[in-house]
Amino acid sequence: MSTATGNAHEGRHELAHYFDSTRQQFESHKLAMWLFLCTEILMFGGLFCAYAIYRANHPEIFLYAHTLLDKNLGAINTIVLLFSSFTMAWAVRAAMLGQRRLLVGLLVVTLLCGFGFMGIKGIEYSHKWKHGFLWGEQFDYTEAVAYASGKGHGDDHAAETGHEGAHADDEAAIHTEVPAATAGDEDAAAVMAELDQAAAVTMDHGHDAERIPRNLHIFFGIYFVMTGLHGIHVLAGMGMLTWLIVRASRGDFGVRNYTAVDLGGLYWHIVDLIWIFLFPLLYLIH
C-alpha cells in the first residue's frame, strides 16, 4: 500500500497508506516530534525545579560550589554545542535543497562537535572525581577543604588548616544543634556528624574567615544529575546523527524527503537549548 518514487535529487520518497499526502505525513511527524520535545522540556523541568528550590533556600552552597567548576571549560563547551547547532541547522537546509555531499559533511561536523562536547565533559567529570566533588554521600569534604585552601588562598595557607582545632570545635557545636531529621539509623547519624565536622573547618583568609558551607554536596548532586541527564541526551543525539549520516550517504534524503533530518535537527537543537540554560545556572553564579 505504500508508494515509493523519487530520484537521486529528490531522495527516497514514500507515503504511508493511511496518509493522503506527503504534506500531511510530514506535518504529522513534525507535530509528534514537537510533542516529544515538550516531554523533554517537562522532564528537565523537574530538575530545574529541584535546582530552583535548593538555590533559593541555600544560595551560599551554590555561590561557593560554582567556584569549584571550571568556567572556561563550560564556556568552551557552550560554544562547541552552539556551533554544532549551527551546522545542524545548515544540514537541514542542505537536505531541503538536495545538497547531498554538503549534508553528509555537515552532519559529520555536528557529530564531531558531539564528541568534542562529551570529551570536554569527560575532562570536567574526571577532575571532579579526582577531588571527590561528588554527589551526596560520596562527597569528600576533607579533600574539598584542602582544595579550597590550596586554590583560594595559596599553598602557604594549606598548612594552616591544621591549626583550626579550637575554631572547629565551636563551629561543630553550633552545627550539631540542627535536628537530625532521620537520624534513626546509625549510618545516617555518622554521616551527619562527619559532614558537620568537615563543614565546620574554617580557613583563615586575611580578615575574613571563609568557610565551606554545609551540605555542599547538594550542589554536586544537582550538577551531576542535570549534566548527566543532558549528557545522556547528547549521546542519544550522537547515535541519531550516526544513523542520519549512514542514510544521507546512501542518498535517502532529498528535496522531497528531508523529514528525518529535520526532526533529528529539532532534537539536537533542544539538547542545545537545555545546555543554554544549564551553563549560566551552574557555572555562572554570582
Binding site: M1, H17, Q24, G45, C49, A50, G136, I218, V225
Partner: protein, 562 residues
C-alpha cells in the same frame, strides 16, 4: 522518533485483504505481536490490561481477607504492606491509566475519525511493547522481594527500606513512556487525521476526552519519569536530593510526585467521562445536551489538573499559603466535573432511555461518580481534611471515583463496543445482572469505608481496634460480592465469543462513524463510503427487525421517523 517518513510502512501480515475482518486478516502469533493495526493493538492492550486487573484484584481480595479480623488473619504484617503496595501500583500504573485510552481509545479513535489508522502506527506498537516490558518488570518485583512503600514511594522511606524499589520504580519509568507514546499518537491523530468536514466541534465527545487526556499524558508523565529516576539515583548512588539525612528535602519529593500523580487521576477519569458522554446520548436517543460545554469542560479539567497537586500535601508540612491556594483551586475543579454530570442528566431528561447493559453501567457510573465527587469536597476543605487525611474516608473516596468511575466506565465501554470489536452480541439479561451485582458489592465494600474513615480508622493499618471490626467485615464481604459480579461480567463476554449471535453493523443506533464500519471492521476499517453527520443526530436511522440493528433511513422511500 524520527522514523517513519521513508521506511516502508506495510502491515506485516501482507497487503491484500479481499475478504474477512481485521481479526482474520492475518494468522499466527507474529501477525498479532508485530501488527501495526490499531484495532489489533487495542485488543492486545485490552487483554493485557484485563490480566493486570485480575492480578490487582487478587491482591485486593487478599488485603480485604487479611482485614477480616483485627489481628493477623492470613499473612504477616510485612506481607500485608507488600500486598497493598502492589495492589495500588498495579491498579494505578497497569490498569487504570492505560485502561480506557490505550485499550478502548486505540480501537475506537481512528474509527471515530473515519481514518485508516492512527498517525504513528509504529509508535503505537512500541507503546504496547513497552507496556508489556514495564508490566513484566512490575510483576518480577514480586519475586524479587516485593515493595512495601505504598504506590506513592514517599521518601525517605522508599530510599531506605529493603525490597525491590528500584525495579518497581524502573517499571513505572518504562510504563510512563508507553503512556507518553499513546498520548503523542492521539494528539497527532486528532490534529492531522480528521476527515474533511469534521471540524473540532463535529468530533464525538469521546475524542475531546481522549485529546484532553493525551495533553495531560504528554505534559505530566515526564515529571514522573524524572521523579522515579531521582529515586533510583537516591537508592543506587545516594545522591541526596530527597534524603533529609544528606540535607535533602523530602517534601520536594511530594511536589514532584503529585505534579504528575494528580493530573494522572484525570488521565484516569477523563476518558471515562468521554465514554459516558457517548453512551448517555445513544441510549437516550437524544442529542447530547450542551455539546460545547462538555467539550470545553474536558479541556478545562486538563488545565485545572495541573493546578491542584498540593491538596495531597495538606498535612505534609506544606506552607499555609500554598495550602490555602491549593484548597481554593481544588474546589474549582468540581465546576467542570459538575458541568458534565448536569449535561448527562439533562440529556437523559425526557429521553427514550433504553436500559441495555452499557447504559446500566453508565447509570451506575453517574451515581457512583457523583458520590465520589461530592465526598471529594470534604477532602478539599482544609479543616475536615486534617481529620480525614490518611483515613479510610480517603480510600473510599478514591475508590468511588477510580473504581466506581473509571472501572465502571471501562466496563460500559467494553460492553458498548464489544459487538464492534468481536462481532458478537452478548446476553443483555446476564450483562445487567452482572452490573447490578457489581453495583451492590461495590457499595457494600466502600460505603462502610466512608463510615469507618470518618470514625478515625487510618488507612494501610494491619491491626485495628475491635470496634472497627464490623465495618471491615462488611467491606470484605462486599469485596467478595464485587468479585462475583466481575466474574459474571467477564463470563457474559466470554460466553458471547463462543455462543453469541452475530452482531449487526449498528446494534445500539450510534451516529458516530465507527458504527458505519462492519462488525468487526475490515483491516483498513471502512469498505464503503462514509456518511458524515452530526455525531449526536439520531433521526437518520431506524430499527430494522431483520437486521436486529439500526439502519440508515432512506429518505426516498419513507418519511423520517425517530
Amino acid at each position: 522518533m524520527s522514523t517513519g517518513a521513508t521506511t516502508t510502512v506495510d502491515h506485516v501480515d501482507g497487503h491484500d485483504h479481499h475478504e474477512g475482518n481485521y481479526l482474520t486478516a492475518g494468522r499466527g502469533l507474529r501477525s498479532w505481536l508485530f501488527t501495526l493495526d490499531h484495532k489489533r493493538i487495542g485488543v492486545m492492550y485490552l487483554g493485557t490490561i484485563l490480566f493486570a486487573f485480575l492480578l490487582g484484584g487478587i491482591f485486593a481480595l487478599l488485603v480485604r481477607t487479611e482485614l477480616l479480623t483485627p489481628q493477623q488473619t492470613i499473612m504477616s504484617a510485612d506481607d500485608y504492606n507488600r500486598m497493598f503496595t502492589l495492589h495500588g501500583a498495579i491498579m494505578t500504573f497497569l490498569f487504570i491509566i492505560p485502561g480506557i485510552p490505550a485499550a478502548l481509545g486505540n480501537f475506537i479513535l481512528p474509527l471515530m475519525l473515519g481514518a485508516k489508522d492512527v498517525a504513528l502506527p509504529r509508535l503505537n506498537l512500541a507503546s504496547y511493547h513497552i507496556y508489556v516490558i514495564g508490566s513484566l518488570m512490575a510483576v518480577a518485583s514480586i519475586l524479587a522481594g516485593g515493595v512495601d512503600t505504598g504506590w506513592t514511594f514517599y521518601t525517605p522511606y522508599s530510599t531506605t527500606t529493603n525490597g525491590a524499589v528500584i525495579l518497581v520504580t524502573l517499571s513505572v519509568f518504562v510504563l510512563g513512556f508507553s503512556s507518553i507514546f499513546t498520548g503523542i499518537n492521539f494528539i497527532v491523530t486528532v490534529h492531522r487525521m480528521r476527515p474533511a468536514g469534521m471540524g473540532w466541534f463535529q468530533m464525538p465527545l469521546m475524542l475531546w476526552a481522549l485529546y484532553a487526556t493525551a495533553i495531560i499524558q504528554v505534559l505530566a508523565t515526564p515529571v514522573l519519569a524524572i521523579t522515579v529516576l531521582l529515586i533510583i539515583a537516591e537508592r543506587a548512588l545516594g545522591i541526596g536530593i530527597f534524603d533529609p539525612a544528606l540535607g535533602g528535602d523530602p517534601v520536594l519529593f511530594q511536589h514532584f510526585f503529585w505534579f504528575y500523580s494528580h493530573p494522572a487521576v484525570y488521565i484516569m477519569i477523563l476518558p471515562a467521562m468521554g465514554v459516558i458522554s457517548e453512551l448517555v446520548a445513544i441510549f437516550s436517543r437524544k442529542p447530547i445536551f450542551g455539546y460545547k460545554a462538555i467539550a470545553y469542560s474536558s479541556i478545562a479539567i486538563a488545565v485545572f489538573s495541573f493546578l491542584v497537586w498540593g491538596h495531597h500535601m495538606f498535612v505534609s508540612g506544606q506552607s499555609e499559603l500554598a495550602v490555602v491556594i491549593f484548597s481554593a483551586l481544588t474546589f474549582s475543579v468540581s465546576i467542570p466535573s459538575a458541568v458534565k454530570v448536569f449535561n448527562w442528566l439533562s440529556t437523559m431528561y425526557r429521553g427514550a432511555i433504553r436500559l441495555e447493559t452499557p447504559m446500566v453501567y453508565a447509570l451506575v457510573f453517574i451515581f457512583l461518580f457523583g458520590i465520589g465527587g461530592l465526598t471529594g469536597l470534604f477532602l478539599a476543605s482544609l479543616a475536615t481534611d486534617v481529620h480525614l487525611h490518611d483515613s479510610y474516608f480517603v480510600v473510599a473516596h478514591f475508590h468511588y471515583t477510580m473504581m466506581g468511575g473509571t472501572m465502571i466506565a471501562f466496563l460500559a465501554g467494553i460492553y458498548h463496543w464489544w459487538p464492534k470489536m468481536f462481532g458478537k452480541m452478548f446476553s443483555q439479561k446476564w450483562g445487567n445482572i452482572g452490573a447490578i451485582v457489581i453495583f451492590v458489592g461495590f457499595n457494600v465494600t466502600f460505603f462502610s469505608q466512608f463510615v469507618m474513615g470518618a470514625k478515625g480508622m487510618p488507612r494501610r493499618y494491619f491491626n485495628y481496634p475491635p470496634e472497627f471490626e464490623i465495618y471491615h467485615v462488611m467491606s470484605s464481604i462486599g469485596s467478595y460480592v464485587l468479585a462475583i459480579g466481575l466474574f459474571i461480567a467477564a463470563g457474559v463476554l466470554v460466553h458471547s465469543l463462543i455462543a453469541g449471535k452475530k452482531a449487526p453493523v449498528n446494534p445500539w443506533g450510534g451516529a458516530t462513524l465507527e458504527w458505519q464500519a462492519a462488525s468487526p471492521p475490515i483491516h483498513h476499517n471502512f469498505d464503503s463510503p462514509l456518511l458524515l453527520t452530526n455525531p449526536y443526530d439520531y433521526t437518520a436511522q431506524r430499527w430494522d427487525e431483520a437486521e436486529q440493528g439500526y439502519v440508515p433511513v432512506d429518505p426516498e422511500k419513507e418519511p423520517q421517523t425517530t
